[in-house]
């Protein structure tokens, strides 16, 4: 056996940059770098020339000018006197809310449908298959438009709720607290008689009352977890599991109730007055329709992922759990789904990303999200397409990257730890 000979080092020739695999990759990378730099320079040069030809510049200063238009749904305070930048933030919040609610609901619905599709109930399984195929194979845009139209065409106008001679044409739901009109949903809104103060951080007002409620609820949950842990320890030590459900209930409910009582919680109910319902919280159908359409569409996609995940679990698993005496429902929730989760999560991440990006279709039902404010009205009123589009793409990109980073971290934590 001879040892591998050391390659000759001394005489480096220029040709080796091309023919020697050790150096070739550097040559290629240098060429790529040069081409890339040239490409970027070309684009930048074109842009500058074009801007010069149109007598324009790149200037983000317009973001601090008065926006002048109104946005009907805003999570942070906004009036038409605020700046375009604030309109951008309002839009971003609207985008994020739809994306978040959509992701949560479509996951829940998708898992249910995916499981039901494999149900032994013939009718249910067929129905779910039809549902999945119909929703998956028709453009999302169509669903968004249709759901919106269903709301605005089938629900009564607000004035149908007007009480004339003791009766009204349409009835409110849930003991006269919720009214669903063809414009939106009017639901009661919690009010406080003696709230804690509110202060502003930057652009966002922070309500101390809300923070206090969140803190108390979180504390209660944590206390409950401690309680359960102790109970489990007792059970393991003595073999007897003490009854704790009433303690749990007390821990979870009493503190928050006491806090709300102290702050003087009461509900602001929607009441019909003039043209619309006044009071309460109004959720426009553009939001509801967009969320529902995204949920229905992505539920069908997620259901397929869930089905594939469940079917990827070996049959022996469900047989083993049946042998242990678990009922089918518990087999699904305790044995199959936790394992299927590992298969499901990676495609789920990309579906969350798609959903988030597809919230930009809200423009079809006049939902003013980031695309509607920054990329729509602001762009139109200022004529700054280069700045607006760049900024919008950047924001979407950052949101996408954050979502995928978070989800990937979660994926890494549930991944089967192989040794």
């Amino acid at each position: 056996m001879t040892l591998a000979t050391e390659p000759p080092k001394a005489n480096f020739r220029l040709g080796m940059l091309i023919y020697d695999t050790r150096y070739r990759s550097y040559t290629i990378q240098v060429i790529v770098l040069i081409l890339f730099a040239l490409g970027v320079a070309w684009l930048a040069n074109n842009t500058i020339e074009n801007l010069a030809a149109k007598d324009k510049d790149i200037n983000f200063g317009f973001l601090w000018n008065r926006a002048g238009y109104d946005i009907d749904q805003h999570l942070i305070p906004y009036t038409n006197d605020d700046s375009h930048f604030r309109a951008l933030l309002v839009g971003l919040c609207n985008t994020l809310v739809v994306a978040f609610v959509g992701c949560v609901l479509s996951t829940v619905l998708g898992v249910i449908i995916g499981v039901l599709r494999l149900s032994k109930n013939w009718l249910v399984a067929r129905l779910m298959t039809v549902y999945i195929e119909i929703f998956r194979n028709v453009p999302l845009l169509l669903w968004i438009i249709l759901v919106y139209v269903v709301f605005s065409e089938t629900r009564p106008e607000p004035k149908a709720f007007k009480i004339v001679d003791g009766t009204s044409q349409a009835q409110m739901n849930f003991f006269d607290t919720v009214a669903v009109t063809n414009r939106g949903m009017n639901v009661p809104y919690p009010m406080l008689t003696n709230p804690l103060p509110t202060f502003n951080i930057g652009f966002m007002p922070i309500s101390l009352s809300l923070l206090a409620v969140i803190a108390v609820v979180a504390g209660s949950i944590y206390a409950n977890i401690l309680l359960r842990r102790r109970t489990k320890a007792t059970q393991e030590a003595t073999g007897i599991r003490p009854t704790i459900w009433w303690k749990s209930v007390l821990i979870l409910i009493v503190p928050v109730t006491a806090l709300l009582f102290a702050m003087g919680l009461h509900w602001d109910y929607p009441v019909f007055k003039g043209f619309n319902f006044k009071g309460g919280l109004n959720i426009a159908h553009s939001f509801t329709a967009l969320t529902i359409a995204l949920t229905l569409y992505y539920a069908s996609v997620i259901a397929e992922t869930v089905r594939a995940g469940i079917q990827a679990i070996a049959k022996g698993q469900s047989e083993a759990s049946a042998a242990l005496g678990l009922r089918p429902g518990r087999t699904m929730s305790l044995v199959i789904l936790p394992q299927a989760l590992r298969v499901i999560i990676p495609p789920l991440i990309s579906q969350y990303l798609s959903l988030t990006k597809d919230t930009s279709l809200g423009i079809a039902v006049s939902y003013l999200d980031l695309r509607g404010t920054l990329g729509g009205i602001t762009l139109n009123q200022t004529g700054r397409e280069l700045e607006c589009m760049t900024l919008m793409m950047l924001i979407y990109l950052i949101v996408s990257l954050i979502i995928s980073a978070v989800m990937n971290a979660y994926n890494a934590s549930v991944k089967l730890k192989e040794r």
């Binding site: 320079a41 930048a44 040069n45 500058i48 020339e49 010069a52 030809a53 149109k54 007598d55 324009k56 002048g68 238009y69 109104d70 946005i71 009907d72 038409n80 139209v149 605005s152 065409e153 106008e157 004035k159 063809n182 414009r183 007055k273 003039g274 043209f275 619309n276 006044k278 109004n282 426009a284 159908h285 553009s286 423009i363 079809a364 006049s366 003013l368 509607g372 729509g376 009205i377 762009l379 139109n380 009123q381 200022t382 004529g383 397409e385």
Partner: protein, 338 residues
């Protein structure tokens, strides 16, 4: 810093090197086709019919320009533009002229670097409501839900109007006219606001027009007109004077029907100048003598175009109002042709 200087120098040289802006007129002539930025879905003003042929009040002005420049009213390519893409299409040179219900405003004229060469329709933003609401003035709309079309000046006007009257409203921003109308019809908004002309067109198309009223308040000035790019003044002149030729034709009683005979029968020197029988007005803009004659022959004079597309005999049924000639109490006034 260095970099920007470098690219600046680069840019300057290339502009100097003079691929230089060829005049739009030369472009159009070389292409043999006028590219007109049009509306795709505004009944009466600009929309394609079942065969895909564009028809409407704005479209007829495109045809007149094509007739004046190229001698054939059919040599127009219509580029469909949305409220959001229209100005970019014009700025990038994708269209030669934009005739799409665009309001002449200060910032569009200056900041966006466009020229509004004329006003072919004086409009104003109004409100339409259902009769049964019992509203007789826009100031009674406190708390109402209002449908608006996005990408227009209307959303700003609306905000200003409600603010100055110190009343509140809920805006519903809708993408296009037909969708806004559907929402209004379904009762998803109490009032629909857009240019009064659009309101009239929309009202006409509802199942029971008599159930809807257009409120008396006109909350804004909306001078709509053809737009061209800043800087090409000759092209701007052509669009402007083609439009004025149509106006002048109405004033002087030149119609599509009599255009071939009126030249010989008239004694009015201005008519003769306009029709190219006297002097050579066309040459001053790089056109031939009969440019105006062809423009008028394309779809008739201003009054004829108005009546054929949006006038009282059409389903839209707009009265001339502000758009009557100045001789009849309106604002339409063509400068003298001499």
């Amino acid at each position: 810093m260095k970099k920007s200087v470098f690219f600046g120098a680069l840019a300057a040289t290339t502009v100097l090197a003079g691929s230089a802006f060829a005049g739009t007129l030369d472009d159009v002539k070389a292409r043999g086709e006028l590219i007109c930025g049009a509306n795709v879905g505004l009944t009466g003003f600009g929309a394609p019919d079942a065969t895909g042929a564009y028809k409407g009040f704005d479209v007829d002005l495109c045809k007149a320009i094509a007739a004046a420049v190229l001698g054939d009213a059919a040599k127009v390519k219509y580029v469909p533009t949305t409220g959001e893409t229209r100005f970019t299409a014009l700025a990038s040179g994708e269209v030669d002229v934009l005739i799409r219900n665009s309001t002449w405003t200060y910032s569009r004229d200056t900041d966006l670097k466009f020229d509004f060469v004329a006003v072919n329709y004086y409009d104003g933003q109004g409100f339409m409501v259902k009769k049964e609401l019992g509203v007789s003035s826009a100031k009674e709309l406190d708390g109402a839900t209002v449908c608006i079309q996005t990408g227009t000046t209307t959303e700003l006007n609306l905000a200003d109007f409600f603010k100055s009257n110190n009343i509140s409203y809920t805006p519903v921003t809708v993408g296009d006219d037909s969708e806004a109308l559907r929402q209004y019809d379904a009762g998803a908004c109490d009032a629909y606001t857009t240019d009064a002309s659009g309101l009239a067109a929309s009202r006409a198309s509802l199942a029971n027009p008599a159930d809807h009223i257009i409120l008396p308040e006109i909350i804004s000035k909306e001078p709509l007109g053809p737009v061209v790019r800043h800087g090409d003044n000759n092209w701007g002149d052509i669009v402007r004077w083609t439009y004025y030729a149509l106006l002048e034709a109405e004033e002087k009683g030149i119609t599509k029907a009599n255009i071939d005979t009126v030249g010989t029968s008239t004694t009015d020197p201005e008519v003769k100048r306009l029709l190219g029988l006297e002097g050579d007005l066309g040459a001053m803009m790089g056109l031939d003598k009969e440019w105006a004659k062809r423009a008028i022959a394309a779809s008739g004079n201003y009054g004829e175009i108005f009546e054929a597309n949006i006038g009282t005999s059409t389903p839209i049924g707009l009265a001339r109002g502000l758009n009557a000639l100045w001789t009849q109490g309106g604002l339409q006034y063509a400068p003298p042709f001499r």
